[in-house]
Amino acid sequence: MFHLILFLFFGAICVAGAVNLLVQSHPINSALSLIAVMASLAAEYLLLGAEFVAAVQVIVYAGAIMVLFVITIMLLNAGKEERTKGSRVAIQIGVPGVLIGGVLVAWTLLHRSDMQSIPIGALRGDPRAIARLLFHQFLLPFEVTSVLILIAIMGAVVLASPPAVARGPRKDEG
Protein backbone atom coordinates (compact mmCIF):
# COMPACT_ATOMS: atom_id res chain seq x y z
CA MET A 1 0.00 0.00 0.00
CA PHE A 2 2.69 2.39 1.17
CA HIS A 3 4.71 1.22 -1.81
CA LEU A 4 1.84 1.80 -4.23
CA ILE A 5 1.28 5.30 -2.88
CA LEU A 6 4.94 6.18 -3.32
CA PHE A 7 4.94 4.69 -6.79
CA LEU A 8 1.88 6.65 -7.84
CA PHE A 9 3.26 9.84 -6.32
CA PHE A 10 6.58 9.72 -8.13
CA GLY A 11 4.95 8.34 -11.24
CA ALA A 12 2.60 11.31 -11.25
CA ILE A 13 5.61 13.61 -10.99
CA CYS A 14 7.22 11.77 -13.89
CA VAL A 15 4.20 12.06 -16.14
CA ALA A 16 3.61 15.66 -15.14
CA GLY A 17 7.20 16.50 -15.93
CA ALA A 18 7.06 14.71 -19.24
CA VAL A 19 3.87 16.48 -20.26
CA ASN A 20 5.29 19.75 -19.05
CA LEU A 21 8.31 19.14 -21.23
CA LEU A 22 5.94 18.99 -24.16
CA VAL A 23 3.75 21.95 -23.37
CA GLN A 24 6.45 24.35 -22.25
CA SER A 25 7.54 26.61 -25.04
CA HIS A 26 10.86 27.60 -23.57
CA PRO A 27 13.65 25.04 -23.70
CA ILE A 28 14.93 25.86 -20.23
CA ASN A 29 11.58 24.99 -18.71
CA SER A 30 11.55 21.78 -20.69
CA ALA A 31 15.02 21.05 -19.37
CA LEU A 32 13.96 21.64 -15.78
CA SER A 33 10.89 19.49 -16.13
CA LEU A 34 13.09 16.78 -17.60
CA ILE A 35 15.32 17.06 -14.56
CA ALA A 36 12.27 16.63 -12.41
CA VAL A 37 11.35 13.54 -14.39
CA MET A 38 14.81 12.12 -13.86
CA ALA A 39 14.85 12.81 -10.18
CA SER A 40 11.51 11.14 -9.65
CA LEU A 41 12.65 8.26 -11.83
CA ALA A 42 15.57 7.90 -9.44
CA ALA A 43 13.00 7.60 -6.68
CA GLU A 44 11.22 4.90 -8.68
CA TYR A 45 14.50 3.08 -8.98
CA LEU A 46 14.89 3.27 -5.25
CA LEU A 47 11.45 1.77 -4.85
CA LEU A 48 12.61 -1.07 -7.05
CA GLY A 49 15.70 -1.42 -4.90
CA ALA A 50 18.18 -0.29 -7.54
CA GLU A 51 19.86 2.21 -5.27
CA PHE A 52 23.10 2.38 -7.17
CA VAL A 53 21.25 2.96 -10.42
CA ALA A 54 19.26 5.69 -8.70
CA ALA A 55 22.39 7.43 -7.47
CA VAL A 56 24.06 7.23 -10.86
CA GLN A 57 20.86 8.42 -12.48
CA VAL A 58 20.99 11.54 -10.36
CA ILE A 59 24.71 12.10 -10.70
CA VAL A 60 25.17 11.38 -14.38
CA TYR A 61 21.82 12.25 -15.89
CA ALA A 62 20.58 15.07 -13.72
CA GLY A 63 23.98 16.25 -12.61
CA ALA A 64 26.02 16.05 -15.79
CA ILE A 65 24.06 15.49 -18.95
CA MET A 66 21.29 17.92 -18.14
CA VAL A 67 23.86 20.46 -17.05
CA LEU A 68 25.26 20.15 -20.54
CA PHE A 69 21.84 20.89 -21.94
CA VAL A 70 21.37 23.88 -19.70
CA ILE A 71 24.81 25.18 -20.60
CA THR A 72 23.99 24.83 -24.28
CA ILE A 73 20.71 26.61 -23.85
CA MET A 74 22.43 29.41 -21.98
CA LEU A 75 25.27 29.53 -24.47
CA LEU A 76 23.04 29.75 -27.53
CA ASN A 77 20.64 31.94 -25.56
CA ALA A 78 17.73 29.98 -27.00
CA GLY A 79 14.46 31.86 -26.73
CA LYS A 80 10.88 30.65 -26.96
CA GLU A 81 10.42 28.29 -29.84
CA GLU A 82 8.53 29.66 -32.81
CA ARG A 83 5.38 27.79 -33.80
CA THR A 84 6.24 27.06 -37.41
CA LYS A 85 4.09 24.72 -39.45
CA GLY A 86 6.94 22.50 -40.47
CA SER A 87 5.28 19.27 -41.34
CA ARG A 88 1.72 18.07 -41.60
CA VAL A 89 2.86 14.47 -41.57
CA ALA A 90 4.14 14.69 -38.02
CA ILE A 91 0.83 16.00 -36.73
CA GLN A 92 -1.61 14.10 -38.90
CA ILE A 93 0.12 10.72 -39.03
CA GLY A 94 2.78 10.64 -36.35
CA VAL A 95 0.79 11.82 -33.35
CA PRO A 96 -2.18 9.52 -33.92
CA GLY A 97 0.24 6.69 -34.55
CA VAL A 98 1.98 7.30 -31.24
CA LEU A 99 -1.25 7.55 -29.34
CA ILE A 100 -2.66 4.42 -30.90
CA GLY A 101 0.53 2.49 -30.28
CA GLY A 102 0.76 3.68 -26.69
CA VAL A 103 -2.86 2.85 -25.96
CA LEU A 104 -2.47 -0.58 -27.51
CA VAL A 105 0.62 -1.35 -25.47
CA ALA A 106 -0.95 -0.11 -22.22
CA TRP A 107 -4.13 -2.06 -22.90
CA THR A 108 -2.24 -5.27 -23.55
CA LEU A 109 -0.05 -4.83 -20.51
CA LEU A 110 -2.93 -4.11 -18.18
CA HIS A 111 -4.98 -7.01 -19.52
CA ARG A 112 -2.31 -9.57 -18.97
CA SER A 113 -2.96 -11.91 -16.11
CA ASP A 114 0.55 -13.21 -15.50
CA MET A 115 1.98 -9.86 -14.30
CA GLN A 116 2.85 -10.62 -10.72
CA SER A 117 3.50 -7.80 -8.27
CA ILE A 118 6.92 -6.59 -7.24
CA PRO A 119 7.62 -6.09 -3.52
CA ILE A 120 9.33 -2.91 -2.40
CA GLY A 121 13.07 -3.03 -2.92
CA ALA A 122 12.67 -6.28 -4.81
CA LEU A 123 16.19 -6.57 -6.15
CA ARG A 124 18.93 -4.84 -4.17
CA GLY A 125 21.18 -3.21 -6.76
CA ASP A 126 24.19 -3.63 -4.48
CA PRO A 127 27.17 -1.78 -6.01
CA ARG A 128 29.42 -4.72 -5.31
CA ALA A 129 27.22 -7.20 -7.16
CA ILE A 130 26.70 -4.82 -10.06
CA ALA A 131 30.42 -4.20 -10.29
CA ARG A 132 31.09 -7.93 -10.30
CA LEU A 133 28.60 -8.41 -13.12
CA LEU A 134 29.90 -5.41 -15.02
CA PHE A 135 33.55 -6.38 -14.85
CA HIS A 136 33.18 -10.09 -15.41
CA GLN A 137 30.21 -10.90 -17.56
CA PHE A 138 29.93 -7.57 -19.36
CA LEU A 139 33.60 -6.71 -19.56
CA LEU A 140 33.75 -6.50 -23.32
CA PRO A 141 30.67 -4.28 -23.72
CA PHE A 142 32.05 -2.13 -20.94
CA GLU A 143 35.33 -1.61 -22.78
CA VAL A 144 33.54 -1.02 -26.03
CA THR A 145 31.33 1.65 -24.51
CA SER A 146 34.39 3.30 -23.01
CA VAL A 147 35.93 3.48 -26.47
CA LEU A 148 32.64 4.79 -27.78
CA ILE A 149 32.49 7.61 -25.32
CA LEU A 150 36.11 8.48 -26.00
CA ILE A 151 35.28 8.82 -29.66
CA ALA A 152 32.23 10.87 -28.76
CA ILE A 153 34.38 13.24 -26.72
CA MET A 154 36.79 13.74 -29.59
CA GLY A 155 33.94 14.25 -32.03
CA ALA A 156 32.33 16.80 -29.75
CA VAL A 157 35.59 18.72 -29.44
CA VAL A 158 36.07 18.76 -33.18
CA LEU A 159 32.49 19.76 -33.91
CA ALA A 160 32.13 22.44 -31.32
CA SER A 161 35.50 24.09 -31.82
CA PRO A 162 34.91 27.32 -33.78
CA PRO A 163 35.99 27.46 -37.41
CA ALA A 164 39.66 28.31 -37.88
CA VAL A 165 38.96 31.72 -39.42
CA ALA A 166 36.98 32.92 -36.43
CA ARG A 167 39.55 31.68 -33.95
CA GLY A 168 42.27 34.28 -34.30
CA PRO A 169 40.92 37.36 -32.52
CA ARG A 170 38.82 35.42 -30.00
CA LYS A 171 41.92 33.92 -28.40
CA ASP A 172 41.98 35.90 -25.17
CA GLU A 173 38.40 35.15 -24.33
CA GLY A 174 39.42 31.69 -23.05
Binding site: P27, Q57, G86, I118, P119, I153, L159
Partner: protein
Protein backbone atom coordinates in the same frame (compact mmCIF):
# COMPACT_ATOMS: atom_id res chain seq x y z
CA UNK B 1 3.22 -4.37 -3.89
CA UNK B 2 3.02 -2.82 -7.33
CA UNK B 3 2.30 -4.93 -10.41
CA UNK B 4 5.02 -5.02 -12.99
CA UNK B 5 2.59 -3.79 -15.61
CA UNK B 6 2.30 -0.43 -13.82
CA UNK B 7 6.00 0.16 -14.13
CA UNK B 8 5.88 -0.85 -17.76
CA UNK B 9 2.94 1.39 -18.47
CA UNK B 10 4.75 4.26 -16.80
CA UNK B 11 7.82 3.69 -18.91
CA UNK B 12 5.59 3.40 -21.95
CA UNK B 13 3.99 6.73 -21.15
CA UNK B 14 7.40 8.34 -20.79
CA UNK B 15 8.52 6.87 -24.07
CA UNK B 16 5.38 8.00 -25.85
CA UNK B 17 5.85 11.49 -24.43
CA UNK B 18 9.38 11.41 -25.82
CA UNK B 19 8.16 10.48 -29.27
CA UNK B 20 5.43 13.12 -29.11
CA UNK B 21 8.04 15.68 -28.15
CA UNK B 22 10.04 14.64 -31.15
CA UNK B 23 6.97 15.13 -33.28
CA UNK B 24 5.60 18.40 -32.02
CA UNK B 25 8.60 20.35 -30.74
CA UNK B 26 10.49 22.63 -33.09
CA UNK B 27 13.50 23.40 -30.98
CA UNK B 28 16.39 21.06 -31.64
CA UNK B 29 17.45 21.10 -28.01
CA UNK B 30 13.98 20.19 -26.84
CA UNK B 31 13.82 17.41 -29.37
CA UNK B 32 17.09 16.19 -27.98
CA UNK B 33 15.62 16.22 -24.51
CA UNK B 34 12.72 14.17 -25.81
CA UNK B 35 15.24 11.57 -26.89
CA UNK B 36 16.67 11.55 -23.38
CA UNK B 37 13.15 11.10 -22.11
CA UNK B 38 12.68 8.03 -24.27
CA UNK B 39 15.93 6.60 -23.00
CA UNK B 40 14.77 7.13 -19.44
CA UNK B 41 11.55 5.34 -20.14
CA UNK B 42 13.48 2.40 -21.49
CA UNK B 43 15.74 2.45 -18.44
CA UNK B 44 12.74 2.23 -16.16
CA UNK B 45 11.47 -0.85 -17.94
CA UNK B 46 14.96 -2.32 -17.72
CA UNK B 47 15.06 -1.92 -13.99
CA UNK B 48 11.52 -3.14 -13.59
CA UNK B 49 12.25 -6.28 -15.53
CA UNK B 50 15.44 -6.76 -13.56
CA UNK B 51 13.39 -6.76 -10.40
CA UNK B 52 10.82 -9.00 -12.02
CA UNK B 53 13.24 -11.67 -13.14
CA UNK B 54 15.69 -11.15 -10.26
CA UNK B 55 18.41 -10.63 -12.86
CA UNK B 56 20.87 -7.88 -12.03
CA UNK B 57 22.00 -7.60 -15.64
CA UNK B 58 18.94 -5.48 -16.29
CA UNK B 59 20.37 -2.82 -14.04
CA UNK B 60 23.77 -3.19 -15.70
CA UNK B 61 22.19 -2.40 -19.00
CA UNK B 62 20.93 0.83 -17.59
CA UNK B 63 24.52 1.90 -17.17
CA UNK B 64 25.26 1.14 -20.78
CA UNK B 65 22.24 3.15 -21.80
CA UNK B 66 23.45 6.02 -19.68
CA UNK B 67 26.91 5.92 -21.25
CA UNK B 68 25.42 5.92 -24.71
CA UNK B 69 23.12 8.78 -23.71
CA UNK B 70 26.09 10.74 -22.42
CA UNK B 71 28.05 10.20 -25.62
CA UNK B 72 25.03 11.08 -27.69
CA UNK B 73 24.42 14.23 -25.68
CA UNK B 74 28.02 15.34 -26.10
CA UNK B 75 28.07 14.83 -29.84
CA UNK B 76 24.54 16.02 -30.36
CA UNK B 77 25.00 19.24 -28.48
CA UNK B 78 28.22 19.86 -30.35
CA UNK B 79 26.32 19.37 -33.58
CA UNK B 80 23.61 21.72 -32.38
CA UNK B 81 26.22 24.37 -31.66
CA UNK B 82 27.74 23.87 -35.09
CA UNK B 83 24.34 24.10 -36.73
CA UNK B 84 23.49 27.22 -34.81
CA UNK B 85 26.80 28.73 -35.83
CA UNK B 86 26.00 28.25 -39.51
CA UNK B 87 22.20 28.48 -39.68
CA UNK B 88 21.63 31.00 -36.88
CA UNK B 89 18.53 29.12 -35.83
CA UNK B 90 17.49 26.21 -33.64
CA UNK B 91 14.22 25.56 -35.40
CA UNK B 92 14.29 22.22 -37.17
CA UNK B 93 11.65 23.43 -39.59
CA UNK B 94 14.21 25.92 -40.85
CA UNK B 95 16.95 23.32 -41.10
CA UNK B 96 15.47 21.31 -43.95
CA UNK B 97 17.93 21.56 -46.78
CA UNK B 98 18.29 17.81 -47.07
CA UNK B 99 15.44 17.06 -49.45
CA UNK B 100 14.43 16.25 -53.00
Amino acid sequence: MVPLSYYLVLSGILFACGVLGFLIKRNIITIFMSIELMLNGVNLSFVAFAAHWHALSGQVFVFFVMVVAAAEAAVGLAIIIAVYRTRETLNVDRVNLLKL
